[in-house]
Symmetry: D2
Subunit: 336 residues, 4 copies
């Protein structure tokens, strides 16, 4: 049997830590050799909790280890592109959280480095690995709804991330940080490219975001290259829970993905029937986060192309940036 794939995780905040746990405990074909974080104490803590041998705050230490063949990037978005470049040059295969970059120029530099190094790059669009989305895509591919013509998606967080998340714009904006999941779904599920977008957006529920020149709500109209149309809603503060729903309408039917209730339990009293709602994306997509890493490790070990590649990362980013531009210019924006 082939040896395990040596892996490191760079950036072990909430999501990076989850990736590290998944690699350590649930992906037996991988061996988690190191964790790296700009906060040395955080990397030490995660390494201790997960019994990982190396903890560091210096990416160079990761680059230098020959036994690390693949690296998971879960740092703030601003650093993705340059870290991809460095890791690619060091010959590492890369799994990078969305977005690929914060500008198309950065994205193209990163992709060039990946191409030159002959390594693979997978982008963390985990929804493609969710059982619901996967089932929907299979049914569309099987022709059950005819030709898909309308794409609708809703992404609502219960609460925005803490204010620190928005400091310095290191995580992009609502468009490149949150709506980008739906832009990827749009391309993937419609098997088409987005040709033009129009966005209305604003600071509607979280006034504390205004000073970051970001928005908390956006509605993005889409026109696809082959004529289909779509709309994406992204909202930072639904108050009632985490709500991710997608519909694709075809010429002969539709598919719907999503659910609201987290606990299989409801109370029925004289004031009505009440149940809870999914709280958080780490709960809703727990299985998907694991499945994407397993698939990545399997692809790298078997020398097969990854399923969600650098171009997918670039195209979703292009839509996100066009949507933001549309909002700022108050007019539709065409993509190449």
């Amino acid at each position: 049997m082939q040896a395990k794939l040596g892996v490191a995780v760079v950036g072990v905040g909430m999501l990076g830590r989850r990736h590290a746990e998944n690699l350590r405990r649930h992906v037996p074909e991988a061996q988690l050799l190191a964790v790296c974080d700009s906060s040395r104490s955080r990397s030490l803590e995660v390494a201790a909790d997960l019994e990982v041998e190396q903890a560091t705050d210096r990416l160079e230490e990761i680059l230098d280890r020959k036994d690390i063949q693949a690296v998971v990037i879960a740092t703030p978005s601003k650093f993705h592109a340059e870290q991809i470049e460095a890791l690619a040059r060091a010959g590492k295969h890369i799994f990078c959280e969305k977005p690929l970059a914060l500008s198309l120029a950065q994205a193209d530099l990163a992709l060039a480095a990946v191409g030159a190094a002959g390594v693979q790059l997978q982008i963390g669009f985990m929804r493609r690995y969710d059982p619901g989305y996967a089932a929907a895509f299979r049914r569309i591919e099987a022709g059950e709804i005819g030709e898909p013509v309308i794409f609708k998606s809703v992404g609502r967080d219960r609460q925005p991330p803490p204010v620190s998340f928005f400091e310095g714009g290191v995580n992009g904006t609502l468009f490149s940080d949150a709506a980008i999941h739906d832009f990827d779904l749009a391309r993937w599920m419609m098997s088409d490219e987005v040709g033009a977008v129009h966005a209305y957006a604003g600071v509607l529920a979280c006034p504390e975001l205004a000073r970051f020149d970001d928005v908390d709500a956006a509605l993005v109209n889409l026109r696809f290259a082959r004529g289909g149309i779509g709309n994406i809603e992204t909202f930072r503060k639904s108050s009632y829970g985490y709500d991710i729903r997608t519909e694709i309408l075809g010429t002969r039917g539709a598919v719907q993905v999503g659910y609201l209730q987290q606990t299989p339990f409801q109370v029925l009293t004289s004031t009505g029937i009440a149940h809870d709602v999914v709280e958080h994306w780490l709960v809703r997509f727990a299985d998907a986060y694991l499945a994407e890493l397993r698939d990545f490790v399997r692809s790298i070990r078997s020398d097969a192309p990854v399923r969600v590649n650098g171009k997918d990362g670039r195209q979703a980013l292009a839509v996100a940036l066009a949507a933001e531009q549309s909002y700022r210019q108050a007019g539709p924006v065409a993509l190449d």
Copy 2:
């Protein structure tokens, strides 16, 4: 075209009044000629509201009118059997609310009178006319679930009727007044007869019913003649709403009938998702109450046999009485 069917309604409390309204406004093939109620003022009020020519508190006046060919009985249950006898002897076709009678002896006398007079008798098991129950029955008949083997039904009122409803036992008990709907469903949907029953019951939520020697909750286990089994729950006070649900399990699948939400609307806040529940049987079965009357009028006018006949009334009553006996004797009871 044939003349309209001349009809009278006897007993215009909540349900009889609804029957009268339906006949007056929604059954064009019928002409509502008279309403009769032991309360003269109530019959006058209903006649005025619905623009009916005759209001009376004397059944004889109904019996004497030759232009009244059919009569709807919606009086307290205690009077059903004797009124059926009188009306049958007068040559009237009869639509009688459930139960047919409060004892099998009464029931048999009433059926004998109906038979002797050559009139028709339909029993008001309106659920058979509900779109959901009707659809379920069609699917079972079509063999979609294989052979039906388990029958489950739940019947919950939000609140019990007012205490006056229980005075003198004129409306029977929980078994003959409420559970009897499910006993009829059991026979009809399983296309089988109930062979034995076992009941646990008690006064669990409405202590005011104890003095009437009635119960507010019952669970009745059923064994069908061909080997199937079933259970019926009847509860006078669910607090959260009117909840009627039935499942039939077959050797290859199942059907479910029922719903909870009345208004197509829900509120989503940080405390969860909440919606309302159906309030009342006149809301849940509004269409069924109309459909059964239309079917009755159509059957009589076309001289076709009614769909829910006197035997159906008798058999459901037999199960109800056996269930009550089981509860009182603390042991299972076999039916003939």
Copy 3:
């Protein structure tokens, strides 16, 4: 007691006939005195079925009857404005189906005539009378979701109307015929005016509509005057059923209106769980169509202002026309 309100219905196609039935059978304060339709045979048939004394194909006969105080218009949209003018000049109160007109110029002439005559005009936005929408609005007004900031609505017909419906453009376009319901909801439920719109649209599922210069699918982004945003989807052919759903998100929660299942019944087999879907708008909004007429009759008889007036009709039309313009010009359109 005051005499009944004398009413006529002009245009007795599918919907006008329903209005006539409702007036004849379910609105006791009204007396349906005449029906009028450009097809004389159709007016005769409806009059016979409903036992209405007068059937005509000449509007003048309606105008001339002094005992007709109010008229319901359910003709093709193209004729609404001129018929309103004529009826207003004859002193009739008017209930007019949507849209008020097919151009703002026509709309303004009609409203001027109404104003000059001192009669009342109600527009048939029946969704405001649906129990679900009404409940949602009350909860929003009560502040349960905080300030409403995002409006989302979906309107899907199972199949487009027959091709004859589109001939000559007498019924407007997807925007003024169908989406206009959602534009009215947007104004009403957000208690705000639409300030700008952007639309993508196309012929995506019904190629037979292309020759009418109409579309079968549209996504309209909305910006409200006070800063809120919204999106409306309108689709002529969902294939699976009639699907009307609306969500309003506020700063503290959300409300949802809508449902899919028509019959309270589902089949469970080894291939999954399946249920049906609402078939048609006359089924989904049966109660609302009745409630709006009752309210209209009540308002006229009590000399109270109608709840959905001419200005509501004009503003929804303005949004519809702007959305169509946006689609045709490929850019956002601001409203006054």
Copy 4:
């Protein structure tokens, strides 16, 4: 920090293997030192897959290891009691799958051995650890539904276990193998003891079970000591999926636990809306199986009493045996 708890798993069929996986990967406070199975090859395979040092087919090897402080029993039911006795005598804490035993005599011997040895015994009623059941119990305890008075539960397997499962009666009957989960829920959620039962049962859908003197369907009526009533349905072959639902009705409201849909995805076409159903109990209760082991390990390490103890195992067994007796004797059976 205290050392990890040394654990072995005895019986590594489908469920025992899951317990071993959970201990190995998801319960960091435990160290899985050995697996034991009457099939030596199976124990070797599981040990290899999970990287467990010792694999054996001799329980004595487990008994002899001093570093094994706790043992999980997941063998066929027939062996539970004697294995508990042996393990208790060897001073091991025990987590035993349901049922505790196949007779009350065996159960009492096992409990006596546990008591004499001063070890702890937890029974695998994992539903108590399901988020839905746990939430329901908390709400009942908090008084939200008033006093609980009616207990209803449904347990349906999609398909019966393979015929080999029934050979020799080593796994008990429908009552002691399957319905016992609901008998435990009944005691726990009602905070009461079952005082009497009545059962109808039969071979209704799986004729291959007849030769084992077992049944595939049962409806068990319950009477609780304090007067409440209940009914439990158990069915081996629902065909459409795994369906576990429980309702508790109180004097002021109700709670419901359970769900049908597994994948958050549905297809909508002209034939209706369809979704899937949970397939299997290892899917439905995956989290609960893990949570119960974590709780067991935590209790043992902290020397706290386990949450589901030997008496719970005995009482549920007593109800199961009484239900079976009721079915065989065709009459109600009282419990002590």
